[in-house]
Structure formats: structure tokens, C-alpha cells
């Protein structure tokens, strides 16, 4: 459709790769992406993300390598949000960061629950 924003990714296309440096985050416009982490025993599935979800936001706050690989699960559309554009706007309107903080806070909460489940199964 001519009215979609962002870039189109086909099934299996890697959008960000673990270990690479990044200077932007992504917002999913349509479709689904899979977040995976490489480990000793091969790739480990972390999560599926859908429309409206963010990924790659850690690159905005720290100069570190990407912590996971994100690839398209089926066709998906994702919009790149530049670090410079976002940080300039946060400088004018610090409340914009609240939205990102809320999402990161939800993720920490999910991780806490995941760790608790993991401990229970190993005790």
C-alpha cells in the first residue's frame, strides 16, 4: 500500500543484529518481529513484538552494541526513529521520555516475572 510508513521487511529479514552498533530505535507499524539472542547452545527465542512495540531503544541511551537480533516474522513494516531527532525533542519536552520509560519499565516487570518462574522451576 502506498500509504504505509517505514520500511518493509520480508520473512526472516534481519532488522538489527546482535553485536552491531546502533544509533536508532524502531517502532513496528505492521506485522510481527522476533527477538533472538545467540548463546552457547544456539539461538534463543526471547519475544515476539507486534504493531506499536519498540525495539532497539537501548541504543538511544547508551553507546553499546545491540544486545539481541531482531528479525521479521512474516512480512512486517518498521519505522526507524533517529537518536538525534528523539534526543533533541526530549531536550525540549522531557515528558516524551516517560513513554519510553513506561515501556522499559513493563519489560523489567516481565523480566522479573520470567526470572521468578525460572527460579521456581530450578528449585
Amino acid at each position: 500500500m502506498s500509504g504505509t510508513l517505514g520500511a518493509l521487511y520480508r520473512d526472516g529479514d534481519v532488522i538489527i543484529r546482535e553485536g552491531e552498533m546502533g544509533d536508532c530505535m524502531y517502532v513496528i507499524q505492521s506485522g510481527r518481529v522476533e527477538v533472538v539472542l545467540s548463546g552457547e547452545h544456539g539461538e534463543q527465542h526471547l519475544a515476539f513484538l507486534g504493531p506499536g512495540d519498540f525495539f532497539g531503544e537501548m541504543a538511544l541511551f547508551e553507546r553499546q552494541e545491540r544486545s539481541a537480533t531482531v528479525r521479521s516474522a512474516g512480512n512486517s513494516q518498521a519505522l526507524k526513529v533517529d537518536k538525534k531527532t528523539l534526543l533533541r525533542r526530549i531536550g525540549e519536552d522531557p515528558l516524551l521520555a516517560m513513554n519510553l520509560l513506561q515501556i522499559m519499565s513493563h519489560r523489567i516487570r516481565d523480566l522479573d516475572a520470567e526470572i521468578a518462574r525460572h527460579r521456581e522451576t530450578h528449585l
Binding site: 500500500m1 502506498s2 500509504g3 507499524q29 526507524k80 533517529d82 525540549e92 513513554n99
Partner: protein
Amino acid sequence: MRLSPQKSVADSFSSLAREDRSGFELVDGSRVAVVGGGPASSFFSFFLLKMAASVGLDIHVDIFEPRSFKRCGPAGCNHCGGVVSESLVQILAAEGISLPAQVVQRGIESYVVHMDVGSVDIHSTAGERRIAALYRGNGPREGGDSRWESFDGYLQEMAAGLGATVVRKLITGIDWREGFPWLRCADGETVRYDLVTVASGVNSNFMHMLDGLPEPLKSPQTTRAYVCEFHSTEEEVSRILGNGVHVFLLDIPRLEFAALIPKGQFVTVVMVGEDLDQELVHAFLQDPVVQACFPTNSTPCVCSCSPLLNLGARTRPYADRVVLIGDSGVTRLYKDGIGAALRTGKAAATAAIFHGVSKDDFARHYWPACRRIANDNAIGKVMFGTTAIFKRFRFLRSLMYRMAMREQEQASRRPHMSSLLWNMFTGSAPYTEICRDALHPGFAGNMILNAMAGLWPARRRPAQGPLS
């Protein structure tokens, strides 16, 4: 304010929002009226209700907009070129507001700058579509394509989703009784509000009603733009214009700039200039450079208007219990009016929730956001003045073309001219930043080198690039 370890951030915000500020604070049950239903209105209502919920405030918001954005033609239109800039698309996404495909008529990935010396296609550095061409209402009179939805309607539904009430009534006056504003509706009803937010734009009659306020607000300086729609087929519009906005820098007296924006089966023509009249419109449309960009089977203009544009900030877009946002108060010069609507709408909502609705509250916590835009516009005027000089002299137009063309062909690491033209016409960067880029020594050096190359006789130059 220091946060005690026992208090959460939300509790601290809550107590800040509830501090007594001599009756000018919003409290549970406060009523807020928003006059006008465009983007500034929806952004203000959306953020006001979102912030109110975050601090546990229960307030009531009425959006007064008699028009339905579901109607085609002028009845459902907000008279605008309808482009959401690259930076705004990203900021909206970060705010959690994604523009769906049915609202975006076309995702734009390039700006094509046309001059008599040639045309140069400047692509987004992101390599993806991050600019949205859309209709504020439901398209021109001859639209009726049910696939699309109005942008203003989409934002209004978003605000309504958080609890704002859309009142389909025309406001006919504002009275002042016992220190509170009362809105008069066309059906005779009058309602008292704790805060009246004016988001009706500069084209509304409501602006004249503000003359009756205890402290009248001075109107901003305005100029007229010209917007018209040409009908073709989606395939033809795609073939001729592609996914690009076409901008014209032509040496036509009184014309500041003009653009063709592809939108589905329509092409929107936007012109900004001095004393825009039919003669100027005709001169532009008949120019051979413009004619070459028109879809061959397009029908004559099917819908047109000459809306007012806000050219300068009000000296004081607020009073006790009244605040003016978007075009009604301060907007960006010629570009990114929707971005200014977001900035002023959110800044006014933040001031109202966390500080209060008195003149002093708005002066301290809302006016800085407006002043930033107004100061940036002052630089913008200088930048547009410089562009006008380039537009006037063929030598300078050739220089501009040569630099931008080579940068695009060679995928230059520092595309100074392309970046400058991109930011000037897309409205993605503040004018201050564009000016700083224009003063970069690398840009000046590059320009001198290109100017010298342009003066070197063509027969002695190695053959490279279209102007060599």
C-alpha cells in the same frame, strides 16, 4: 522539589498537581473546553487527559467542533497541504501515536527540487518512507474513496478514546463572569469552564470573539496560501510524481515557493507567496517546469482554497483561564504546522496539569515553548530570504543544482546542500539548525569550489555530471 524515598514519582507529580495555587489549579471535576477540532485540539486533549490520569485527576474535556471530518470537500477540511514531517512522524511514533496506512495517502521518501536549470531528487537519508502525505479532512469534493480516513478525524478519535467529549456545536461567543469564561453555543446554551483552550486556527471567526476578553489578545500577522486539488488516476500520479513531494524554486515574482504533493488519485498544489492572486497561480501552473510534472490526464482543479497562514507569534497567547495553541497562537514559519500543534498543545497541557491555568502559570511554563518556535521563525525568515536570493539569480540556482546533484550521485558522506534543501522544504529540522549547517566551513568551501568549477569554461572541464 526533592523526592522522598518513600514517595513514588507518580505521587510526587500528583502532589505537585494538587498544590493550592489560589484557585487557578485544575482539580477533580474541573471542566476544560477546547474550541476547534484540529490536530492542536486533539493533541492538547490527548495529553491533558493522559497526564491527568497519571496524577489521578478526574477532569472533563469538551472539544467544540461543528464539522465532521468524515465529509468530503470544504465541509470536512482544515485547508492545509497535509504533510507530516519526517521528524514529526518519528516523534509521534515515540509518543505511541502511529499513523495507520488508511490515514496516510502516500508515504514520501524523497523531495524533488525543480528549477529551470534542472531537477534534483533528494532522498531521505534513512532510506525509508518517513514523511506522510495525507488529507486533514476526508479529501476533495470528488473524493469519496472509502479506503482513506481523515488525519484530523483519526486524532480526534484518539482524544475521544481517552475520554474527551466531541460536541458538534458552533461557539458564538465567550463571556466573562466572576472570573470564569463562559462559552455561548449557537443553540443558546452557555457553559462555564475552568479553562478555555483556543485551537480554532487563524481562519476561524472565533479569534475575533477574543477581543472581548478582560485583556484582549493581539492577533498574529498572517498571509494567504493557495491550496488546490487536481484529480487523476492513482497509477498516473504514481508514474509522474512517484513517492516524492515536488518543490519548485522558480524565478516567478512574488512566489516564495510551491509544491506538488501526491495523494492517492489526487495531486495537491500548495503555493506560498506575496499577495497570492489568480495571476500568480496561473503563471505558476503554466510554467513549463511545472507542466512537465503534471499527470497528463489530470482534470482541472476540483477543490481549492486560500487559507490564512500564521506568520508571527502572538506576543501573549494566553490569559487567565485562556490559552491559545497551534495556529491560533504560534506556529512554525511556512512548514510543519502540525509539529507546532503537537509542541504547543502538549506544552499547554503540561502547564495546565502540573502548574495551573493562570496567566502567570502559562507565562512561566507554556510561553517558553512558544518563544522557542518564534525565535526559530526569526532565523527561518533569514533562511527563506537567502533562498529567495538564490532563486533570483541563475548562476546561484545552477550552483545549488550542481552541488545537490553531485551529492546525490556520489552518495556524499557530507551532503551539505542536499541536507540543507531537505531540511528547508520538509520542515524536519529547526531553522536554527539549518542556519548552523549553512554556516559550516565545509559547506562554504564546497560552495566556493563548485562556484569556481561552474565558472571554468565547459570545454576545459572533464566530462562528469549533467552540468559539466
